[in-house]
Amino acid sequence: MIKTIFAFINAAIIQSIPLLYGATGEIITEKSGNLNLGIPGIMYMGGISGIIGGYLYEHSVANPSAILCVLIPLLSSLIGSTLLALIYSFLTISLRVNQNVTGLALTTFGIGIGNFFGGSLLSFFGETGSISLIRTGKAFKASLPFAHKLGIFGKTFLSFGFLAYLAIAIALVTSYFFNRTRAGLNLRAVGENPATADAAGINVTKYKYLSTLIGGAIAGLGGLYFVMDYTGGAWTNNGFGDRGWLAIAIVIFAIWRPTTAILSSFLFGGLYILSIYIPGLSGSAKEIINMLPYVVTILVLVIISMRKKRENQPPAHLGLSYFREER
């Protein structure tokens, strides 16, 4: 019994990491007033870019080194997801077009790219079968060497690849950035009221661009974690599923706070796989449990809007473009 519980906690943490990356990225983006609904697409992009980078490296060198096996996919993933975020930023910030439409198109586009290259990368190189980067996956999965000596504790909490710890570190740094730095304060001002921020001398465009790009890059790492660590370097089309949307749900659930997002991701990650760990569940009951994250998110959304506590609200200018001459 206790073993099952620890196995469940371990699995929940693994599930929570991609969600946490997505949620942190989306929080940073939304704090600037950009509701980026392209995050699910960006996460696919982050995953497939990493796969492409890893594949090209692993197949061009006879003896791939573990360090480059990590660095090259990491870099290509960051570039891929930043590029998609750049499309979104350019369209919504510079061209000021509708954020919802752009975001949804970006999700279609990103998932399309992911599934297209995931499904046909091998055939470009005259190979068949499905993508499997064993070395790269292994390099990403490498955990602390002493983790397994620490018994069940080490196995449950310390057995992850470095990307898992990085996710938590990024969330903590983001929280510090929002609450303790001048730039973080400025960013929140941009999301709350860009006109006031502009009048105070804050470069609204710069903040919006940077936060959307960095947010996109971080979200993309969630896709990278999924394909490299979770599946060990393998790609299956649509394998990432609807985790991107779940990440957006977490943003609401965590009321736009990165530290809360860590715990919320853990909770949602647990809910995501809970049905597997409850013995004797019927198929239909599983579906009801899988519904819980979304129902809970709606409840949170409703409750925060009813209580009207100022610090719990979405950024006031969320979803709106800013044009200086239009106030």
């Binding site: 509701l35 609904l37 499309i87 369209l91 510079s94 061209l95 000021r96 077009v97 509708n98 919802n100 439409v101 752009t102 949804l104 198109a105 970006l106 999700t107 279609t108 586009f109 990103g110 998932i111 399309g112 790219i113 992911g114 599934n115 297209f116 995931g118 499904g119 046909s120 055939s123 470009f124 089309n237 609807d242 949307w245 957006i248 749900a249 609401i252 019927s282 198929g283 239909s284 599983k286 579906e287 009801i288 899988n290 519904m291 979304y294 129902v295 998110t297 709606i298 959304l301 409703v302 809007s305 009813m306 009207k308 979405p314 969320l318 979803g319 044009f323 001459e325 239009e326």
Partner: protein
Amino acid sequence: MTNEKHVKEPLFHITRRTDIKPLAAWGIRLIAVVAALIVSALVIVTITNYNPIEVYAKMIEGSFGSERKFFILLQNTAMLLCVSLAVTPAFKMKFWNLGAEGQVLVGGLASAACMFYAKDSLPSWLLIIIMLVTSILSGIIWGVLPAVFKAIWRTNESLFTLMMNYVAMQLVSFFIMVWVPNGSSVMGVLNQKSESGWLPVVFGQKYGLNIIIVALLTVVMFIYLHFSKQGYEISVVGESENTARYVGINVKKVIIRTMVISGAICGLAGFLLVSGTNHTISKELAGGMGFTAIMVSWLAKFEPVMMIFTSMFIVFLQKGAGEIATAFRLNESVSDILTGIIIFFIIGSEFFINYKINMRSKSKGAE
């Protein structure tokens, strides 16, 4: 001006323009489409080395190649148009209903439930009426819930409706699990033998009735938005809630009433998909249409008549890309990439319709 030398005029500055002629606006959009097709062609060439003209020819064949293909195109267009019409009144008042997918799903689910439980115990026409009513009611419930919270507590509607999609999907999975006990989680065709609850075939076309109903709906929606008092109220609320309040429009009532309409049409779409097209239910019933409809409606500038073209265009892209995927043995996700590129270009072109770029003028002091 003494300090003129010190002031650096930016290279260009942007101003809003309100006076653009409709013809010029559509011209800009057309240029965007052409540019998008060129970029898409470049993408196709770089990743596949195929002649893009050949690829586009195949796309056209995929939609118009045979009578059957053409009718499938029409049916898909009709369904996408139906959902687009549903989201339009809400968008016009700036209510971002991202939950059409879920509203269609619950509508379809209600129809499927009626078919599943009634079997052939009722005459088909009666069953169809019951299905229609329950579908529309379910769609309304799914749509009006976020609207009520938006109207009273200003709950963010785009996030609320987005989450409702996934609740609806899980609800469908749940019922399929209940109805199909063998665990395959795939619902077979309902009432295969008796065809009870199936929409009748008209003009020898299986999807004929779907197309006719949606065509009628387009006309009704056009009239509703342009020539009814309620349609006018929607535009006023969309332009400015404060103005609406000032002139005595009950904004809360308009929000809720509009979402009732939006949800009802989504429910109708679900009914048409189950009763007219698929005769079964699955999580993929709406197949992303709820999201595509947002782009269709927006591309058409919320004009029901223009939506006929934009929805057909999007469906054409998807069908065509599916065709080239099989013909050139590409992965069929290529259609999503092309759709994405084209939509990026068209939404990007809106900037040039709404704003004017003024380059730095050489002659100082002219203005």
